[in-house]
């Protein structure tokens, strides 16, 4: 098999798998920090219980996020050594800073948080979870700074046959980063919020621990609604930015072969034929693409054929059109999932304000349970659109994916690692799902019963069960 293809599949599977857990960790850490803040300042025990119960899910999830993150950092050197040589001078810096600033903070303070309930003062313990949350945000910032360089390279010059950094400040104020970071972060917060809201809805449906899960639901639905709306706002910003900086990606996401009329209509769906470079069975909404691209109801959007011609003039002969169908549909799946999140959030918040969460219809609570998957789907499809839509480049305009791989690594080696890592991911996913269900079924008050049981030294079995 083709090593480039294998390395790409390897990267995709690792990154997609890793990025199921990362947003959950970012979102849950923030929500738990809010819960513990309410415990410390309001003094109500239920908030401590909330922090601990949701904390269990965070820890299981965090572990998988951490271990797949190691692979994430190593694989640039393992599979993409020519890429690493070419951009390491620029791209390595944010990765090193991420480790130094974020990984140390997260890992140290999550340890203090887990084991520190009885050894730290309430406020220092609270500070620990806020520092974990801050660490997750910093981690996102630096890795997205690196990714933004791949989307829109800035702050460098070509020297000694490679990209060398010449303006660090430009790298961290990259326009791409300024839209990509909030879009991703609010998406991550929404992911955590929909997880908490969905699990709470399930427990409310089962009529278990009503007070506990009503409070959890209320907090999560507020955060979920606000962040879902902000995701959409920054998504719109990012789309406008892409029209300027990576027009090919946006044209592919719109399935736009020819330059559009003015004002440009938005294609809701289409049957795309990349070989003939044309669409059939299109359904269009007038004016909408102009609005999405420029926030006004006029303006044409340049199509892929014209861009291909421009890029051939600029970069030499080659195929500069990314896989159109994948880019087109991943964009639509993301937008659809995001829209569903906003609708669910609106209805949930309305129920909360009318204090009718307990009486919510079973249909709605089931939808919230299914809704846990919506942000996860949106996150993945959003990244698929971003990364596939940038092809054939790894760094836009600078180096292609084909020229990025490790020349000294055989296809067999990549295939071997692909198989073992995919197998491990499958096992991890299954175990995680099992443990999540188990923790959720046990509920927040099970542990107390365990404790009483276990503290009886004559009950040997119970004693061993906790140790």
């Amino acid at each position: 098999m083709d090593p480039v293809m294998l390395a790409r599949i390897q990267f995709a599977s690792t990154t997609i798998f890793h990025f199921i857990f990362v947003p959950i960790s970012i979102g849950l850490a923030f929500l738990i920090a809010v819960m513990e803040t309410m415990y410390v300042f309001k003094g109500q025990d239920v908030y401590k219980r909330m922090a601990k119960f949701w904390g269990k899910l965070l820890l299981i999830n965090f572990a998988v996020g951490v271990v797949t993150g190691i692979l994430q950092e190593f694989q640039f050197g393992m599979n993409w050594s020519d890429y690493s040589r070419f951009v390491g001078d620029v791209f390595g810096a944010p990765l090193a800073i991420e480790a130094l600033l974020a990984f140390f903070l997260e890992s140290t303070f999550i340890g203090l948080w887990i084991f520190g309930w009885d050894r730290l003062s309430k406020k220092v313990h609270l500070l620990s979870i806020w520092l974990v949350s801050f660490g997750t945000l910093m981690s996102a910032f630096w890795i997205l700074a690196a990714n933004s360089f791949m989307q829109r390279p800035v702050g460098f010059e070509i020297n000694n046959g490679r990209a060398e950094m010449n303006d660090f400040f430009a790298l961290i104020t990259n326009g791409q980063l300024l839209v990509e970071f909030p879009h991703t972060i609010f998406g991550a917060l929404a992911t955590g919020a929909f997880l908490v809201a969905g699990v709470s809805a399930y427990k409310l449906m089962k009529k278990q621990d009503l007070d506990f899960f009503k409070r959890s639901f209320n907090l999560a639905i507020v955060v979920g609604l606000i962040t879902s709306i902000l995701v959409a706002v920054f998504g719109h910003q990012q789309a406008q930015y892409l029209v300027q900086t990576q027009p090919m990606k946006m044209a592919a996401a719109e399935g736009l072969w020819e330059t559009s009329e003015d004002p440009a209509p938005w294609t809701v769906f289409a049957s795309i034929d990349p070989d003939k470079q044309e669409n059939s069975a299109e359904f269009k909404v007038p004016y909408l693409l102009s609005f999405l691209s420029y926030s006004k109801f006029s303006g044409e959007v340049i199509g892929m054929k014209e861009l291909q011609y421009q890029y051939e003039q600029e970069y030499g002969p080659g195929d500069y059109i990314p896989p159109v169908r994948t880019t087109f549909w991943s964009f639509r799946i993301m937008v659809a999932a995001g829209t569903a999140m906003i609708l669910l959030g609106l209805y949930g918040a309305w129920l909360m304000l009318r204090k009718k969460v307990e009486q919510a219809g079973k249909w709605f609570l089931s939808m919230m349970l299914i809704g846990i998957s919506l942000p996860i789907i949106a996150n993945s499809s959003g990244w698929i659109m971003t990364e596939i839509g940038r092809q054939p480049w790894t760094v836009f305009g600078l180096i292609t994916t084909e020229n990025s791989i490790s020349p000294n690594v055989s296809a067999g080696s990549i295939l071997f690692s692909l198989i073992v890592f995919t197998a491990i991911y499958a096992v991890l996913a299954a175990v995680m799902a099992y443990l999540f269900v188990k923790v959720i079924k046990k509920g927040p008050y099970a542990e107390e019963a365990d404790h009483r049981h276990a503290s009886d030294p004559f009950n040997k079995e119970g004693y061993n069960a906790v140790s």
């Binding site: 130094l100 340890g111 443990l435």
Partner: protein, 338 residues
């Protein structure tokens, strides 16, 4: 005054030394969960003794990797692509171990625990062995061509010298972990950790001596920097003897410091032997990777220096504080699950 290239070589070395010193003992404790613990409760006590620390210790490795990427992209690219298969196994081991700490206690079933205990043990033995092999390879030299690409066959990586290097590192970590156990546990478990450590002294000394002698005959590091390396290894030997002496006095804290010093001095001598090279080509000296031809440009190094100098004091500060918070020993009778 050191040049920035030299500063970053030292920083990468410090990160690896810190990693082996810190994660070294939690690898050792991970091995002890099978070699020392006799019951499930003891196993849990051992795991909890490193519970708050192991994750942050592992970040030293990640940061070392990140620092190599940023400061010496060619070193990072050549090393990580060249050692592809060993790194796959290293990653598998670290993945299994990391999740096992979290997963094992979540289900009360004996077979479930056995599986994750297996992952903890394997994940604690394999990484120090593999990294020991990799570091031995680094000073032995590797087939690196004029394009800085390493095309290593099986025996370039696995041979008598590198295997002895791997075993030495593994046993040093076990010894170091046993000393850590004496500091964090009580009564019977603590006593058994001491006695196992004493029994290990001779085999470790044997391996260590073998590795030193083989290094003298099979690599060129002594020709390059013989004086310095002799001093470092002499100090390591002294620390080793003092470690044994403190063990016999049951001065566990000092003994732990000494096993840590042996590890730190050994890793230091590897970096000293390399300098100013970072990877040695067995094809031609002209193809060696050095702190100059593998490095980032001066601007990038300057930025990274400022960042590192600003952040490192905080990192060290809160990590040391976390050890202070958890200085009490772990007792069997306390609530061990979380």
């Amino acid at each position: 005054m050191l040049s920035l290239n030299e500063v970053w070589f030292v920083l990468v070395a410090v990160l690896f030394i810190g990693f082996f010193f810190l994660e070294g003992f939690d690898f050792g404790v991970g091995m002890s969960t099978q070699l020392l613990a006799k019951s499930d409760t003891e196993r849990r006590v051992l795991i909890n003794s490193i519970g708050p620390f192991w994750d942050a210790n592992e970040v030293w490795l990640l940061t070392a990797g990140g620092a190599m990427f940023a400061a010496f992209p060619n070193w990072y690219a050549t090393l990580f692509s060249g050692f592809y298969i060993p790194l796959v196994f290293l990653l598998l081991a670290l993945i299994g171990r990391g999740v096992a700490f979290e997963f094992r206690g979540k289900v009360g079933n004996a077979r479930w625990k056995k599986v994750w205990d297996g992952a903890i043990f394997t994940g604690s033995v394999l990484p120090p062995f593999l990294l020991g092999v990799v570091f031995a390879c680094l000073i032995q030299g590797l087939p690196i061509n004029e394009a800085m690409e390493m095309h290593a066959g099986f025996f370039d990586i696995v041979n008598a010298y590198t295997v002895v290097g791997g075993l030495t590192m593994t046993l040093l970590c076990l010894l170091h972990g046993l000393m850590f156990t004496t500091l964090r546990t009580t009564s019977d478990l603590q006593e058994r950790a001491r006695s196992m450590a004493r029994k290990l002294l001779l085999p470790v000394a044997g391996l260590f001596a073998a590795f030193g002698v083989m290094t003298y005959f099979m690599t060129n590091v002594f020709e390059r920097r013989g004086g310095l390396i002799a001093v470092l290894l002499g100090l390591a030997l002294l620390a080793f003897l003092l470690g044994g002496y403190f063990m016999s006095l049951k001065r566990d804290g000092w003994a732990f410091g000494m096993t840590g010093a042996v590890i730190a001095l050994t890793v230091t001598s590897v970096f000293a032997g390399l300098f100013p090279r970072v990877m040695i080509s067995s094809i031609s000296q002209a193809f060696d990777l050095t702190i100059y031809n593998a490095a980032s440009g001066p601007y990038s190094l300057k930025v990274m220096t400022i960042v590192a100098v600003t952040l490192l004091p905080f990192v060290l500060g809160y990590q040391i504080w976390s050890y202070f918070v958890f200085h009490k020993r772990v007792h069997e009778k306390e609530h061990l699950e979380y």
